[in-house]
């Protein structure tokens, strides 16, 4: 068998020490890592099982109004937490649109952030992939690229980050708490994932051994609760990664947009915050034409990485619609098909 060490430390410092050696990998639910190991895509020499570490399974409402989510909280547990969906509805909607019920019951918050790309050339060990084998080249370029990146890609890597959860999180200025051998530090989610550049094997800013211990939502995130949506377009109704997705949130004051948040999923190797597009909306009255304009700004730097030019216009349309939905207001109940274009709230029209 593929022999590897399996360690189950009982404290975070022990875990960090155990995972600081080359070839080590953290194991939580394993919903992605175990598949990758079975496929021979990754072959860690040491698994550090953090699944039972104490202190990582709390959802804390912080005194300042923020929220701290332990890294081992399961996706389903968080989405169904009383109060969470009410304060951060687009995050809950994104969580419930991801994967399948079984996977959501297992997958953790920390693992979600660190899930690997779904690029087929990354999974196919006979293909060249700079992520798997730095310097090997990228066989995705010139291959089957319908779902590949349109923003932030490089000739070294045209893959995308597949998370739904991260998209509204990055829009909401989420902060990742990590602990390493030098103690704890905060990293904004926006800065957490790296774009590929010339070293796509470096996917995040985590140093060797650093462990995600929590994700924090700042107090400001809850101010968008009444106008926050996540919208995910996919090739089947459920259990499919986003072709393109978007989170949109508005803080309304006197009928005007006081603040806007926009992020995109499925378009780049990181959850893509569209700050320039947000700026377009500040102080304006909600209006579909305005939203369309903002969507254009969000995609201004987009370019196809292969046979995927359609994703750029699709992304513009999704951002526009997500803003329209956010402006219309968060539905009082989670739709039966969260984040789906087929999740029309009762009586509401999404299309002029």
């Amino acid at each position: 068998m593929n022999n590897f060490e399996y360690l189950r430390p009982t404290t975070i410092p022990e875990a960090v020490a155990a995972a600081s050696v080359p070839g080590a990998a953290y194991l939580a639910a394993g919903t992605n890592l175990v598949d990758l190991m079975k496929g021979g895509v990754v072959r860690p020499s040491r698994l550090v099982d953090v699944g039972r570490l104490p202190g990582l399974t709390d959802i804390e409402h912080l005194p300042d109004g923020g929220l701290r989510i332990g890294a081992l909280i399961r996706n389903a547990e968080l989405a169904h937490d009383e109060g969470f969906a009410r304060r951060f509805p687009s995050v809950a909607e994104a969580l419930l649109s991801g994967a399948s019920g079984q996977l959501r019951n297992a997958a953790t918050v920390g693992g979600n952030l660190l899930q690997r790309t779904r690029c087929a050339y990354f999974y196919d060990t006979a293909s060249a992939c700079n992520k798997r084998d730095p310097g090997a080249g990228c066989d995705a370029v010139g291959g089957e690229t319908r779902t590949h990146a349109v923003l932030g890609w490089s000739p070294s890597c045209i893959a995308t980050h597949p998370s739904d959860f991260c998209v509204p999180l990055v829009a909401m200025d989420a902060v990742v708490e990590v602990e390493g051998s030098n103690g704890r530090r905060d990293v904004t989610l926006e800065d957490f994932h790296r774009l590929p550049g010339t070293s796509p094997e470096q996917e995040s800013v985590l140093e060797p051994g650093e462990l995600i211990v929590a994700v924090r939502l700042p107090p400001s995130a809850a101010e968008f609760a009444s106008h926050a949506r996540y919208l995910k377009v996919r090739d089947r109704t459920s259990y499919a990664f986003a072709v393109v997705s978007a989170a949109a949130a508005l803080r309304m004051e006197g009928g005007r947009i006081a603040e806007a948040r926009i992020a995109l999923g499925g378009v780049a190797l990181k959850p893509w915050r569209a700050r320039a597009a947000e700026a377009v909306l500040v102080g304006a009255l909600p209006d579909p034409a305005l939203f369309r304009g903002a969507a254009g700004v969000a995609l201004v730097d987009a370019k196809p990485s292969g046979d995927n030019e359609f994703k750029i216009e699709l992304a513009r349309r999704i951002v526009t619609r997500a803003l329209i939905l956010a402006a219309a207001g968060t539905p009082s109940r989670m739709p039966a098909l969260p984040a789906s274009p087929f999740a029309a709230p009762d009586g509401a029209s999404q299309h002029g």
Binding site: M1, N2, N3, G39, G40, S100, R118, A120, Y121, Y123, D124, T125, A126, S127, D139, G142, G143, E144, R146, V233, R234, D235, R236, T237, S238, Y239, A240, F241, V243, F310, E313, L314, R317, I318, R321, L337, S340, P341, F342, A344, G347, A348, S349, Q350, H351, G352
Partner: protein, 751 residues
Amino acid sequence: MVEMTSIQGQTHTRQGSSIGQPLTRMDGVLKVTGAARYAADHHPAGMLYAVMAVSSIARGRVASLDVAAAMAHPGVVQVMTPGNAPKLAEDPDAKTNPFMFRMDLLQNDGVRYPNQPIAVVIADTLESATEGAALLAPAYVTEPARVGLDGNASFAPPAVGVGNPAEMHRGDVDAGLKGAALRMDATYETPAQYHNPMEPHAIVATWDGDTLSIDTPSQGLAMAQGRLAGLFGIAPEGIHIRSPFLGGGFGCKGLLSGPQVLGVMAARLVDRPVKLVLRREQMYGPVGHRAPTRQTVRLGAASDGALTAVSHHAKTASSTFDDFFEPAADTAHTVYASPAIATSHEAVRLDTGTPLFMRAPGEATGSIAMESAIDEMAHACGMDPLAFRLKNYSDVEPISGKPFSSKALRECYAQGAARFGWATRPLAPRQMRDEAGLLVGWGMGTATFPALMFQGHARAVLRSDGTGVMETGAHDMGQGAWTALAQIAADGLGLEQDQVEFRAGSSDLPDAGIAGGSAHTATAGMAIHGAGADVIAKLADLAMDDQRSPLFGAGNTGVIARSGRLHRRDDEGRSESYGDILARAGLTEIEGRGASASDPAAQSAYAMHAHGAVFAEVKVDPEFGQIRVTRLVGAFAAGKIINPRMVQSQYYGGMIWGVSFALHEEALTDRRSGRIMNQNLAEYHVPVNADIPSVEAILVEEHDPHVNALGIKGVGEIGITGTAGAIANAVWHATGIRVREFPITLDRLMG
């Protein structure tokens, strides 16, 4: 001579009949409790685990394998390569009958498709064998892969499907097109699709000298037995294959596949029982698939909508080393009336595994193209698609001119349309929206599948304790054979259901033919029916010849078998139990035999098909193009229905596969390497529950006096036909966009 009339068709014996009852599955409790043992659940003492190493190139040869590294790995017992693979009695590339396909059994170092087995590692654990296979680190001499329908020179295949002519025609198509008021000419493409039953191919093989004991899923036990006998040069009787349950077959387990034989070879090599189970991605190559097609349909119609010409040309692909040509154009033979019909095929050879049978091979691919084309022509004629189909309804089989043995398609159209609410459909596309503003479209398709029958055998026993046994080597792939065939057995033996022990799924039982071509219920069912009649006739002889029996002398009027008793046909008050008849004769049991085969006289006189009509509603997001099939109504007529619950499930399954065909399934093949890039269930999409909000299947009554004595047609494959086209047509009706390349994906509907 005793006159034994079938107990079916006797209205006074209807009470107590099992046939027609919606019984729940006999094997249902076993399955939901996990007690049903599938092939890979078996672990004979001393068993080793075998794992295949497969090729990552499409074409070339294996230059080296690091066998030493694999052998050095703890737990690895043996590595089977062309260097040490057991010699076979028969060349696996030999073809001595049309159902024989070439296998890759480590007889040389050549590579002719991705995922071809190139070695088998045998170890004492699955993990050791898996790691051993990874350590082989093959090096290849690689040649350029031939990929895609334009990837090689095309030719006219000698035959398509299983021995069908590659070209057929009736009338003058050119004249029909020339004289038409309206003409259409369109090309449709369907992708390669791969088998994804829940249970991948698995085998547990044990040798004892020259006898072989096997657990493996099979849709054709006797053929598998024969294939193994030939390859290993042993007697078929020395091979015992058990296949009580299949986790889905759909054609990929119809013929023994190469990897299953490799499991047997591995067991011989190490002289220990061996289990070999394919990984999901290993299903994408050596076990058959549905080939891609590019189909050109040309239609001509008179101004009143009557077709004047139907031309259907299909280009498809086989492997470089064997012949299976998806007979996609043949659907034009059987559905729509036209004075002129021409069908033809061409093919290329690609570096893929050999395509083989996948649920409705030819009918599924052909139907989506033809039903799309018919819809396009109906629109061109300004006619409702149902009215257009009725205008071109054929009371005889169009290509042959033969009458149908039965054809309740008009009833299917009527009942399906009524249930669906078709009458209010606007003629023009893009006219309907739901309350949320989603585009709504309605489409329909005609379903058809031939009513086939193979040769089958069964053995019946009646015992003096009043119980009976029915044996046939039938196959339950999940379709409900354990249940439906047991129902036929109970009626055939004149016993209550719980008095019959039904034995199936094992090669030491009488050959039940292949569970394919939607023909298994007819084939095995008629053999069972015959065996029941035979044993009852023998029992009746005993009674009627015995002066002590109340049935003595009933020979001229005959008897009726019911609930464990024989009754005089002309005086049902005079009867005797089976047990009493046997006891008086001093017998503990009595045996009968039955055989089934299609009737050549009826076959030459009649065209035999099941029919149906499928109506689909889709919703499409007008800006994103995302599609959801919100409603499906199918109405099918397939002769006698043995178990309506099982049949309804078969229709559901077929219709859901139609959704898959129209919207989801596609093997993404890298255009350079020929490797399939989405060989996993996350990225090779099939519908999930959320894709199937509402599916209804109407069982339209149909009596067919010609197909066989029980009147059974098949239901296994017809559901996929009609449905895929209905969805394509509904997408057009919703959007006004005609997508002719399948699956229909959202990027093509963004407008």
